[in-house]
Each structure stands twice: as structure tokens, then as C-alpha cells.
Symmetry: C2
Subunit: 889 residues, 2 copies
């Protein structure tokens, strides 16, 4: 018999933290906390397997489920001493989602479940607080009506607003018990009017309705979007947690709050959180009332007037602080807690690994390792490589002049400039057009996620440090200023009032998410100073990683940045990028459009000294490190003149009529340039191009070798599909090498290898390896050809493809392991077959993607190469991959 339901509580606890896949994160941790004796209200978790069952069986449940739930419910009744559905002593329940990975706010929740007309009276009697009872009931009807019965929640809100206006009060809390009783009646009427059925008075009906609503919310649009953005498969499903309600809103001896065991923004080892007296949990996270600091220290730092929890409820605070330390020791990681205090008694409602900024992740990992809470390997594993990207983003230049126009909370670090947009859709649209935008909202909600993702930064008028905007922005690495109360928005007019200023949508502002400040216009920025923890972690990463990390770079600037970020050489220098400068493009066009070899040679003569100078600079910067130079790769038509004046210019350079030049241009245009006359095909057709580039490389290397240690050029032949192509190109390169060696009397070491970027190259890698001393997997093109998808054209369908989980992860971001990956495996195996010591690397965009780096480790590649800013990411990812590989072996 399948166990669909797992109880937790003081008397019985079926699950533990290891069962995250089955019980979801929340359920597993509630069980774990119960089992180590923390004060958790009793409850039970319905497993993620049931979610799968539910979707596989047309939204139905196995028969046995009713019995399992009834039995688990009975246990809660025993432990709490209350009865579900009782009129006198009702047990109220919360019903919440809880997936394997945290998806905050994405799915539905129902609180105060079990209230009926009858039990509401019982609750009033029992609690001695009729106002509390009716407030709970109207909240329940509102939530249940919205979530389960799909009644427009605006109807409830409007009725509440009308009531407040009627009674001339500002806050909900000013409404009396009678007001709330009347509101309950109105809400019930809304339900009847909208659904044609009275609000359900059977608690079991309520419970099943809520459970189904939670499962159904797994497939709502915002959950689907969130999963896509966070690479969470739909197949995981969500669990449902049903738990006895505790109330933070029964009076001033009650409270509710959220906390992090360390500062999630900086990583400092300080208790960090917010709470509200006499409130329910969602009041804190929803940002409706501005919450208060947890500790005295934070209160003093923030300059608040209200009492901290430490002052208001010192005993409860001490107990909570003890829980904080126990949980950190138990989990060996910084935790994100939810708690409620009901009549001075502390209840823990949730613990989970806390989201944190990259800076905090680094600091926490390093500190915990130093505190011996975790090992160095574990510390490395705690840091999401992707998150390092944040640390490398610019901050405001301290010397830049700036005009402060508003202040808010420093919700997510980093700075960003962009034009104001007022809706998530607009943000996405503008960003797709290439604009940098700042999304400005009163507060954000899960519906805004795509816009937050598209924005360079986020600014909200309401909400605290743990508001939706803050949590999501930190997770995404977007700078965010929240709770900037000076900000007002007139949507219809498209105007944003920032303090004294009045700005239009489209105006540029700058936000500093580390300081919580908003500036007018664009403010100059500087590179961040990387903290000591960053260096420590990078040091550990280098100690544990097996693969080398190189950078893709061709400009001296990129090469320098790459070296600073710890690149051990250049894995891809794309020589064509060197030819787009205004003074070179004409010579390049002259070469392409020449009528014959003599014409091409004349143009190549002009290009040779420029190209040689490029390599001299590059070799000097990378002195002592390998530099992989890819020969000219792109379809020639990329260099073709676009405008008439460009055409005239090139016609004059080659000395032909404009009409002749235009005809040559037409002849060079291709219908599928990606699969056209490019890569080593150019060298086969026009050996003189390969010859010029080889000459530039060897002459530059000789030049550098005169003054410095000789570089080892690794010359890479692009787009080879056959061994014969390599044979032909290598013969040219070897000949030029010998010629230069003779002329300069300097004999250089060098390697000739190839990109493996076509399926045929991987399939015939044994033959290719006979002429190639190294392979570098060009996974961009390999993905294009293996999947038959042009990256430039994928936009029209890739969205549908991800939504329908055909490619759950964009294959241009993470290597498609089944398809492209299996070709890479064939390529490495066959390459080593005929050349056991062949050097193997990767130089596609995937070289900086942690999941792909891990895959490269499983193939045993020698190095990964990525863009300079991704080098730290790749170093850490490579270390994690090594650690994982060792753990497996």
C-alpha cells in the first residue's frame, strides 16, 4: 500500500529532511524540526507522488487517500485537543503547497480552514475574542473564495473598502466584531452570487477543495514561468502541507515573523529578520504593514522607533535565537525561518536553506568552513556558481556626480541604470528590443516575474527587505530598491513622482540596490572590489578543480580582464572580430570581393601587419599561457558592404565598377549562411587567407619570443567535418611556420587542432585526431547542427518549446546532454582512440554554464573556455564538478 500521507508533530513523525523529493522542502523540514524537538504545530504532508498521480489520473485521487488523511487528521486532533468541524472547540488548518525546490508565492495557500458559521461562534466563545473569530472567518472566506472557488478577489476587497469608508476607518483593525460579522455575511453573499452555491459549511468539503486547489496551482501560469526560469521540471510536482493553525493575530501577546540565521545580503553572522505584533504571516511578506526589526542592534542601526522583538518579547526572542543556532548546527547552512507567537508561545512554521546574495553566499560559506561547521568542499558546494556573476557587476562610481531623487530599502545589491517602465510586459518588450529598463512598481507580485527577469533593476514603492520584490530580485541577482515610499505612480498618465521630481515612463534613472537609493539619469559605475571571501573561495576552487579554465577573448581589454579573473590562457580568439574596425573592414571587403587570388593577396597584404600587431598584444598579455587562435570562420557575407557608399568604397579599393562590385556581392550572399561558405571551407577555397593568418601568428609569436617567454600558439581550424580538410590546412600552417622559422631563426612550439562543431566531426573524430593535436568543442554550432536549430531564428518557436517542455532548458544555455552531449562523448572517445594524449576543451557559450561545465568534467575534458566575466563562475563550477566526480568514483 502506497503511503500518500506523512504525519509530523510531537507524538508521531513519519518523515525527515532527507525526503525533500517526496515531501517537498517545507514538509520535509517540518518533519525534521518536529523530530529534533522544535515547537512545530502538528500536521501532515501529502506527497509529491500524489501530485503526479493527480495529473496522470485526470485530476482524481486513489481511494485509500481518504482513510490516510482521516487518520492523520485524528492525530492532529489528539495532539491539539481540538476537533476538526467541532462547533465548540474547532481545529483550524492551514493548507499550503511545498515543492522540492522553493517557489515562493507561486502556488496557492488557504488559512483558517475549518471555519463555518457554527464553528466561528465556537471560536469566538473559546478564544473570548469575537472580533478575532469573525476576522479569521472573513479572511478564510476571502482566501477560499479566491483560491478554491475562483471568485474575483477584487469583489471581496471592494466590499471591505466600502465597509471601511462606511465606518470611516483607515485600517482593517479598526473594524469591530459586528462590522466583521456583517462583512462575513456580505462575503458569503458574494460567493453565492458568483458561484451559485452557498459557501461550503462542511469542513471536509473545504479540506478537499483546498487540497485540489493547491495541486491545481502547480500548473498555473506563474508557476510554469517560474519553473522555466529556474530550470525546475514539471514532473517534480508539489506536496500539500496540512497543519494546525496557530495565530499571531489573537492580540498583543501574539506576533509573527520571518528571519534569517545570518544576514542574507552580506553574510554577516547576525540574526536578521522582521516581525509584526498581532498579525498573520502574510502580513509580513505581503508588505502591507511595514514590519519591525527582530534585534535591538538592527533597530539601532536602522534608526527605528518601534520595539524590536528582542525588547518586546525577550523570552520568546531568546527561545528563537536558540532555535536559530540549533538549526544552523543541524543543517550546516544558513536558514530562512518563519515563526508565529501565539499568546507568548513560539511556534516554528518553516525552515529552509535561506536565499542569499552572492556576496552573502561567499561570506557564509567561508565563515562556516572556518567555524568548522562544514568542510571546504561543502563550502564550495554551497555557492551557486551562477550567483558569482552578481559580484562582478558594476557599482556606482563614488566620484560620479549624482542627483538623489528617492530613498528606499537596500533590497538586492548592485547598481543599474535604465529607462523607467511601469509594467512587466513593457519591461519584457523593451528588453527584447535591447533597451535596459528599470521596472517601477507599487509592489511586485508573482505575475511580475518575467518583467523582473527582463529588467536591469527593480524599484518598488512598498514592501520590506523580505518582500516579494526583495526576495525574487536577490535570487535573480537584479539590483532592487524596495519600499521607496516617496515613489508614486500614475499609471494612466505614465508618470512617476519621485519626491519632488516628476518623471515619465521612458526617462532614465539609476538605482543602487546596495544603498537603497535612486538617482536621476545615468550615473557612472565602477567594477566591484572583490571581497576576501571571493579570493578565498576562488583559491579553494582552484585547489579542487581538475579542468583548467580559459577565456574567450580577442581584444587586449578582454584578455586583461580574463587574466584578472584567473583565466589560464585563451581558449578561443575569434580572429574575424578583429576585422570590423573602420580602417580594416575596407581591406577585408576588398579581399572578399576580389576577382582572383592576386586581388585577394593584395588585400591580405594590407591586413597582415594589423593582424600581426593584434597577436603581438595578445601574446604579450597572455605571456606564458596558451592562446588558441581560431582561423577566419564566419560566412564571408557577414563582411559584405551594406550601404551604397560602402559598396562604392570597396569598388574603388579593388578598382572595379560599382555594378561589378554589386554583382559580386549578390554572388556571395547565401540562403543559409550558417551552413555555407565559412570556416575551413574558406581556407580550402582561398588558401592565401589561411596563409596570411598563419604568418601573422608566427611572426607575432617570434616577435614576443624575442623579449618574453615564447607563447605556444594553438591554431584552431574551424568547421572541419573531414580529416582531409585538416590535412590541407595543416600543410599550409606547417609550411608557413617553417618559412617564418627560417626567416626569423626562431623555432616556435605550436599546435594545430580543430573545433569540433559539426556532427560529422564528432562521428569521425578518430580520423580527425590523426591531424589534430587538440579538439575544442564548439558547442554553439554543434547545438545548431545537431538539433537543426538556428540560434538566430529560434526566437519564433523556442518559447513554445520551453513551455511545452520539449527543451525544458534552452539548449543554447545548457548543453543538451542526450543529443549534443552524446556526440561530444563519441568525439572524445574516438579522438582519444587514435591520439591518446589529445588535448580536449570546450569553447562554446556553454563553457561558462555550471551544468555544462559539470558535464564536461564527466567527459574528462582538459579545459573549459568562456567569456571573461564568466571565468570565476567556471572556476567554481569546475571545482564542484571535480568534487562530485570524486564522490562518485
Amino acid at each position: 500500500m502506497t503511503q500518500w500521507v506523512y504525519s509530523f508533530g510531537a507524538t508521531q513523525c513519519d518523515g525527515d529532511a532527507s525526503q525533500r523529493n517526496l515531501l517537498g522542502g517545507k514538509g520535509a523540514n517540518l518533519a525534521e524540526m518536529s523530530s529534533i524537538g522544535l515547537p512545530v504545530p502538528p500536521g501532515f504532508t501529502i506527497t509529491t507522488e500524489l501530485c503526479t498521480y493527480y495529473y496522470d489520473n485526470d485530476h482524481s485521487y486513489p481511494d485509500i487517500l481518504t482513510q490516510q488523511i482521516q487518520s492523520a487528521l485524528a492525530q492532529i486532533e489528539t495532539e491539539t485537543g481540538r476537533q476538526f468541524g467541532s462547533a465548540d472547540n474547532p481545529l483550524l488548518l492551514s493548507v499550503r503547497s511545498g515543492a522540492r525546490a522553493s517557489m515562493p508565492g507561486m502556488m496557492d495557500t488557504v488559512l483558517n480552514l475549518g471555519l463555518t458559521d457554527e464553528s466561528c461562534d465556537g471560536l469566538a466563545t473559546q478564544s473570548g475574542d469575537a472580533r478575532f473569530a469573525y476576522d479569521s472567518y472573513r479572511r478564510f472566506i476571502q482566501m477560499y473564495g479566491d483560491v478554491v472557488l475562483e471568485v474575483d478577489h477584487g469583489l471581496f476587497e471592494d466590499t471591505l473598502d466600502d465597509m471601511k469608508m462606511d465606518k470611516d476607518v483607515v485600517s482593517d483593525t479598526d473594524l469591530t466584531a459586528d462590522d466583521l460579522k456583517a462583512l462575513v455575511a456580505s462575503f458569503k453573499q458574494i460567493v453565492l452570487d458568483e458561484t451559485g452555491e452557498p459557501f461550503p459549511q462542511d469542513p471536509n468539503t473545504q479540506l478537499w477543495g483546498a487540497i485540489s486547489a493547491v495541486f491545481a496551482s502547480w500548473m498555473n501560469q506563474r508557476a510554469i514561468t517560474y519553473r522555466r526560469l529556474n530550470d525546475i521540471p514539471a514532473s517534480w510536482g508539489t506536496a500539500v502541507n496540512v497543519q494546525a493553525m496557530v495565530f499571531g493575530n489573537m492580540g498583543d501577546d501574539c506576533a509573527t515573523g520571518v528571519a534569517f540565521t545570518r544576514n542574507p545580503a552580506t553574510g554577516e553572522n547576525q540574526f536578521y529578520g522582521e516581525y509584526l505584533i498581532n498579525a498573520q504571516g502574510e502580513d509580513v511578506v505581503a508588505g502591507i504593514r511595514t514590519p519591525l526589526p527582530l534585534t535591538l542592534e538592527a533597530k539601532q542601526q536602522g534608526g527605528h522607533d518601534a520595539l524590536s522583538l528582542e525588547e518586546a518579547m525577550p523570552e520568546v526572542f531568546a527561545q528563537l535565537d536558540d532555535v536559530r543556532h540549533r538549526l544552523e548546527r543541524h543543517y550546516g547552512d544558513m536558514q530562512d525561518l518563519e515563526f508565529t507567537v501565539q499568546q507568548n508561545k513560539l511556534y516554528m512554521l518553516q525552515t529552509r536553506s535561506g536565499k542569499r546574495t552572492a556576496e552573502a553566499a561567499l561570506n557564509i560559506a567561508v565563515q562556516m568552513a572556518e567555524e568548522k561547521l562544514i568542510t571546504e568542499s561543502e563550502a564550495l558546494d554551497r555557492i551557486a556558481p551562477e550567483s558569482l556573476d552578481q559580484l562582478l557587476h558594476p557599482t556606482l562610481d563614488p566620484d560620479a556626480t549624482r542627483e538623489l531623487i528617492a530613498r528606499g530599502l537596500p533590497a538586492s545589491p548592485g547598481a543599474a541604470s535604465g529607462m523607467i517602465v511601469l509594467t512587466a510586459d513593457e519591461a519584457e518588450k523593451r528588453a527584447n528590443q535591447g533597451d535596459k529598463v528599470i521596472l517601477v512598481r507599487v509592489e511586485t507580485s508573482p505575475e511580475d516575474i518575467h518583467g523582473m527577469h527582463a529588467a536591469a533593476g527593480i524599484l518598488t514603492a512598498r514592501g520590506g527587505m523580505t518582500s516579494h520584490a526583495a526576495v525574487v530580485a536577490r535570487g535573480m541577482g537584479r539590483p532592487c530598491v524596495s519600499g521607496a515610499s516617496d515613489v508614486r505612480i500614475d499609471f494612466d498618465a505614465g508618470i512617476v513622482y519621485l519626491g519632488e521630481q516628476q518623471l515619465q515612463a521612458g526617462d532614465v534613472i539609476t538605482i543602487d540596490g546596495s544603498a537603497g537609493e535612486v538617482y536621476s539619469g545615468q550615473v557612472a559605475m565602477v567594477q566591484p572590489n572583490l571581497s576576501g571571501a571571493f579570493e578565498t573561495v576562488m583559491g579553494w576552487a582552484d585547489k579542487y578543480r581538475r579542468m583548467a579554465v580559459r577565456a574567450n577573448a580577442e581584444t587586449p581589454n578582454d584578455a586583461r580582464v580574463a587574466r584578472e579573473f584567473g583565466a589560464k590562457g585563451i581558449g578561443l580568439c575569434r580572429t574575424e572580430h578583429m576585422f570590423f574596425d573602420q580602417d580594416r573592414i575596407v581591406a577585408m571587403r576588398q579581399m572578399i570581393m576580389a576577382a582572383d587570388e592576386a586581388g585577394r593577396r593584395a588585400a591580405l597584404e594590407l591586413l597582415l601587419p594589423m593582424q600581426r600587431q593584434d597577436f603581438i598584444e595578445l601574446f604579450s598579455i597572455m605571456s606564458g599561457l596558451p592562446v588558441t587562435i581560431r582561423l577566419l570562420d564566419p560566412p564571408l557575407h557577414e563582411f559584405l558592404p551594406h550601404t551604397d557608399s560602402e559598396l562604392e568604397e570597396v569598388a574603388e579599393a579593388i578598382g572595379v565598377a560599382v555594378s561589378t562590385a554589386r554583382q559580386r556581392k549578390l554572388k556571395l550572399e547565401e540562403s543559409n549562411p550558417m551552413l555555407g561558405h565559412r570556416g575551413c571551407r574558406l581556407a580550402v577555397s582561398y588558401p592565401e587567407i589561411c596563409e596570411m593568418q598563419a604568418r601573422a601568428i608566427f611572426e607575432a609569436a617570434s616577435e614576443v619570443a624575442r623579449q618574453d617567454s615564447a607563447p605556444i600558439p594553438e591554431i584552431m581550424i574551424p568547421l572541419a567535418a573531414t580529416s582531409r580538410e585538416l590535412e590541407i590546412c595543416k600543410a599550409i600552417i606547417d609550411r608557413v611556420a617553417a618559412e617564418v622559422a627560417e626567416a626569423t631563426s626562431i623555432t616556435l612550439e605550436y599546435m594545430v587542432g580543430t573545433m569540433v562543431e559539426l556532427p560529422r566531426a564528432a562521428l569521425c573524430a578518430d580520423a580527425l585526431a590523426e591531424h589534430a593535436a587538440f579538439f575544442s568543442f564548439g558547442t554553439n554550432d554543434l547545438t545548431q547542427t545537431t538539433l537543426g536549430i538556428s540560434r538566430d531564428d529560434a526566437g519564433s518557436f523556442m518559447h513554445d518549446y520551453q513551455a511545452q517542455e520539449i527543451y525544458p532548458i534552452d539548449p543554447f544555455v545548457s548543453i543538451d546532454e542526450e543529443g549534443v552531449g552524446s556526440l561530444m562523448r563519441i568525439g572524445t572517445d574516438k579522438g582519444r582512440q587514435s591520439r591518446p594524449d589529445i588535448k580536449l576543451g570546450i569553447c562554446g557559450e556553454h563553457g561558462g554554464d555550471p551544468k555544462s561545465v559539470n558535464f564536461c568534467e564527466t567527459l574528462g575534458l582538459d579545459y573549459v573556455s568562456c567569456s571573461p566575466f564568466r571565468v570565476p563562475v567556471a572556476r567554481l563550477a569546475a571545482a564542484q564538478a571535480s568534487i562530485r566526480a570524486k564522490a562518485k568514483s
Copy 2:
């Protein structure tokens, strides 16, 4: 010790016919003829292995070679009773190439080798014919000077012409011994002037020079071109045959000729050939003197005056006729012979399997099988499947009016119309532009091959039935009229005089290669009547083949032709081809450019009845046979409006402004449409398209099933890379099938499968096979993606790629077995892994290519599908592949 030299002759014979790879075709057959006692002048063959050695070792020879050659030479001296280099009794030699495969006229030959000033006098004395001796010597100097010493042959020819003018004679034969002696002196002076060295007087120097020249000629440009056109690897190398000279030009009791043991044009069992009295071999094939028929019958048929060999030399003829029968029995195949009669004695100089027309090949194979000379399997193996193509070419409509403007010889059957071009380069250029051309030449030479290949037909003013033009044209399946002596060409003026007519280059003519006739303008043509032998062979092929042969067809006409040619169903119906009709393209454009699903559905409603009607016709024609229908595949942009008026038309149809329509068009354009939004990606984005097509298929099938046996539609999903795409599309198809079944009360059998045309599909075939009941390898696209070559753009480099042997055979013609083939193997293996009974086929162009069909047999595919006209080719190729596979197992 390696044996580099193999002797043949009456007294010692080292080789035999089985050693073709080592000795070349000519050498192996000379040895074979010697060993069965035929009169072959003694000689020796230097092996093809030495050719390889020569190129691998920088054009040098192993030391032992000298000794082996001297010893073989000694044996010739013994057998002939002459001495090489002797002044009194000189042995003269011929030195000829001889590769594994016949490459007529491609490589160099030197005759009369061994003549020096001294031995020429000896030869004059010994033969009693000074004229003959000096003529031989001047021919030798001329040939050796051209071939070995690389002296421009025009210099010799000009001197000869001057001499004739001087002496006021027309023919070489009118020159006296003294004239020729003077000519020898002039020729020697030319050599001295041009090379700075006197003509070599040492016979051994001459011999080594000639041997090296033959080896060197293996790599001349025309040999390379010929090999590329005929798929002959450079690695095979050529042998060199050194043989005692015999002379057909020593007087009127001498002759030389070529013969086929059966008629190579028709296959009739009649001795067929030509000869010349008092001539050397090249006089016959060069077409300088028009040769005479061999037999009395041929003389009478041709209405010639001169004596046939049968009349002129009855004894020699009887002996030759006997040789003819012995060789046919011995080789079991029609032979192409060369012979020389020296002073009434017959010598055989060559035998080889004779080139023949497709019609002749069929007739000979069938007759020989009926004569029990060979088995049915052997008969099938004798016919080149490619050659059947010729039989299916049109001939002139007998009822068409026509204007005969010239007559020539019926050198290669079939008829063709095209514009006159006068050079091979022009032929190639025009053909590349899509024009049909007739190449008109005085006579053709190996330099013209590329132009002959490009031409629809060939017309020459000179040369017989065995001239270069005739042999090559028959081999290529091009219609050819040779020796049309009324044809005169003024190159400079670009004018062709045909009898009375004067035509310009560019004017259209029609040639009938079966009748030897030339017509003005374009003459209507008809399909050929396939002979009984064709039906017999096709019947045998069907008996021996394992794979089924289907056709790629979508129009009723193509489907009917396919059935007539024996297709067992349709393997590929490309539904997009159905939408280009004028009345449909507007609805198609309306669908593509609609703003939303409703707009698309409106347009699809218009297309549904048309599409249904298409399928009704197709299913009716293919009643009882499977029909594979591929869902819409091409990038939508192929259907986009081109002109402004088309744009206006579609804008009106969808009811939007032209500017809006133009914007949508821009949005739909792609940079690499081959890898863009096409194939099943359309069905994923726009499921309603898939739905409409499925509905049309099932409604049509139900309609046909009411009156006929129900067709089994095999619905093929294009361009799938993942199993999920198939899952999504199959769900739509299955749903529509159920809906149509319910509406019509007819339940149809059908299959859903996929094209395997992306590398990922092959690599993940196990997953795909879970949703696909069949795979059809789409080798066109699979080649494009595996090799990364766009077929549309390959033109700019494929020529270089073939010339440099990167792809020795165009991979779009024959499957690239190492690359694409290995993916096909992975695909078949993995497909069968998860679905052992999966149906496997191929529907790319390769399905009609014999080499590729053979490869498909090795994979065990169930069927091949090709264009209707290739069906007979594929049936025969499939039979040969089956026979080969059985022979191996």
C-alpha cells in the same frame, strides 16, 4: 622481395585476369589472353603498387626495379628474337598506362620506343621499307617529345603541315621516305631547341622516361577530372604495360581495328567493329581517317563501298571471330577488343569488358543468361543501375514535324534539345545557369569531359562510333551524334554551318543519338517503349531484392508514373508542394500571416477541402499500397508573398493594412530558414495546421475506403529532434483520427512515424521510437546538418571540395557513409532497441542512388523511396545489394 614486374607472353605468364587491382585492367587481361593461348605480343606489366610507391617516395623507384625490368625485357627479346637497342634488329616497345578501371584516353602512351638514329636505319633495312622506318621514328619523336619531354605538340604539327604544303600533298601517307627523314631531322631540332638537350639516343633512357611519364600522367588534370566523375579513387594508381610493338602500318597486308563481341548500342549478338588497312591503332580511335566496318553485314547495312575485314582478310577475320567467341565464353561478358594485323598475322592488343548502352546492357545480360553463359544473379550484376536512366529518357515523337538539317553516326542513343554551345566551358557555364545545351565540337577530347557532362547532348563533325565522343557519351548516357561531316564551325564568329543552314551559338537544335540525325529547333519527344529485356530484368530484380521500392510523389501524374515503374507505394508525399497552385497560395499566405489562431483557422478551413481532394486522388491511385504523407515541413517564409501585388492580395484576404502585412512578412523572414521555424516546429506552434492535415488525410482515406480497399496512411512528422515533439503531434493526430472515425463510422488503420533527418533524432532514436511506428531517413536534411552544408550554398565550394578529394563523391548524391551513414546506423540500432518491429525506410534523394541503396541494404532497411523515374534504378540496385549481402553472409 616485392614483385614489381609481371611478364606475359607465350613462354612465361606471371599474372591473370583476377589481378586487375595489381596489374590494371589492360595488364591483367593481356596476361589472361596470353595464358589461354591467344596471340598477344610479349611484354610485361609494372604494377599499380609501384605507382603508389612512386608518389609516396617523391617520384622515385625501388632499386630492385631495374633488375626486374631488365629480366622481363630479356624475355621479350627471347620471344621476339629482337634486341632492345640493337642497330640491326631492334626491338621496339609500346608503353601504355592501364588502371584498375578503364580511363580511356586520360593518360599517356608512347609507341615505337627504342628507335634511335642507328636502329631506325636498322629497321629500314630489316623491314625493307625506309618510309615505314622514318615514319615510325618521326611519330616516336613527336609522341615522346610531347608526352615525356613536354614539348608543345603544336610545333611538330606545324612542321608537318609546312612539309605537306611544301611538297603540295594532302595526306601524311603521300610523304616520301626522304621527306620523312628530313622531318625526323626537323623534329630532333625542335627537341633540341625546346629542351636544350638532344633527343635521347639511349633506349634505356627512353624507356625510363616513358615509364615515369605514364606514372606522372595519373595525376594530370583530365585524369583527376575523369576519376572524380567516375568515382575512381586516386589511391588505386595505374600500372604501366610495356609490350613488343606490332605494326598495322607496314603495308596493305597490315591493319588495325577495334571490335565489340556484341553490338554495344543495341546488345544484338553480332560482331561489331571497325578497322583500317595500313594504320596504327590510334588512327581508328582518333577519328582522323573514317574507319571501315568489320563485317560484310555491317557494310551492307551501312551502304559502304570499301571492303569489310571479312572480305579483305577472310582468314584473319575468321581467326578474329574465333577469338571473339573464346573471349566471351572465357569472360562471360561482352568484350571490347583491340587488334593489329601485321603482315597477315593477327595480334590481340587488348580485351576488356565493353562499354555499352543501357539497352545493350539489358539485352546482353538477358541473352547471356538465356544462353546459360551466366546466371540470373550475374546478369543482374552486369547492368549498371544508373544506366537504366537512359532508357527512360524521351525519344523524338514520331508524329512530330521536324526539319532535318544534318546527319551523322548514331553514337549514343536518346534524343535531346538545347541551345548550341561551342566550348566545354561554355556548356558548363550555361548548364549551371539552368539552360539545356548541345555541345557542338569538331571532335571531342578528354579536355571536353566536363562540358559533355554538363550538356544534354553532343554533336561532333568528326569521329566514328568508337571515337572519344561516342564512347564517353554512351558511358554518361548522353545522346550523341558523331561524325556529322556536314557540320562546320567558325569559332571566332560563333557560327555553325549545318548543311545548308547557318546557325548561331545559342540557337536551339535537337539531336537524335539513336538515328544520328540533327534537327532545327525543338522537336517534340515521347517516352520510350521499354523493351522485353527491361521487363525481364525488372522481374528478376524483384525476385532477388529484399527491400521494397517506393516513390516520392505528390501529384496524381507522378503517382501514376511511379506505379507504372513498379513502385510499391509512396514513401514521401510532400504536402507543401500541394499549396503552390495559384488558387491555393493565397489561402496559404493568409494562414501564415494571420495574426492569431482564429485567423489561421479561417484560412485552414479554405485549405481543408483542397487538401482532402488531393489525398482522395492519391489514395485512389495507390489503392492497396502504403502512402507516407509528410506533414507541412518547409519554413513558412517559402510561402511568403514576393511582390507588392501579392502582398496586397494577402493583406486584403486577412483584412489588414498592407503595412501590417509587410511587417508580419518581415517578422517571418529568417536568416537560416533551413534551421528555422519549420517541420514539426510548425505543428508545435500552430497545432491547428497539423489538425487540418490530419483531418484531410483521415476524411480522404475514409472516402476512398467506402469504394475501394482502405489505404493505410503512414503519417510522417518532419524534423523531429525529441520524443516530446512526436508525443505532442501524435496526440493531435490520434485525436483527429478518433473524431473522424466517430463522424464517418469508419475506423481506419494508420501509422504515425517520423523523418529522421536531424543528428539528434538519430542519436535519440530509442526515445523517438517510443512514439514512432516507423522511421524514414530524410538523408537530404540529415546530410545538410551532419556535414553543416547547405545544399543551396554548397555551389561556391563543392567544386574545390571534390577536386581536393575532401568529398570525393558529392554527399548529396551518394550517402556519406562515415558521417551520415554512421548516424543512420545509430538510428536503426537504437530505433530497433526500443521497438523491434519498427518500419525503416529512406526518402532522401539518395533512395535512388545505387551506392546508397546498397548501404541501406547493409542497414537492413525495409524500403527505399525515390523519384518516380529512379524507381527502376532503385529496384535493380536493391536486387544487386541483396545478392551482394547474401554472398557475404
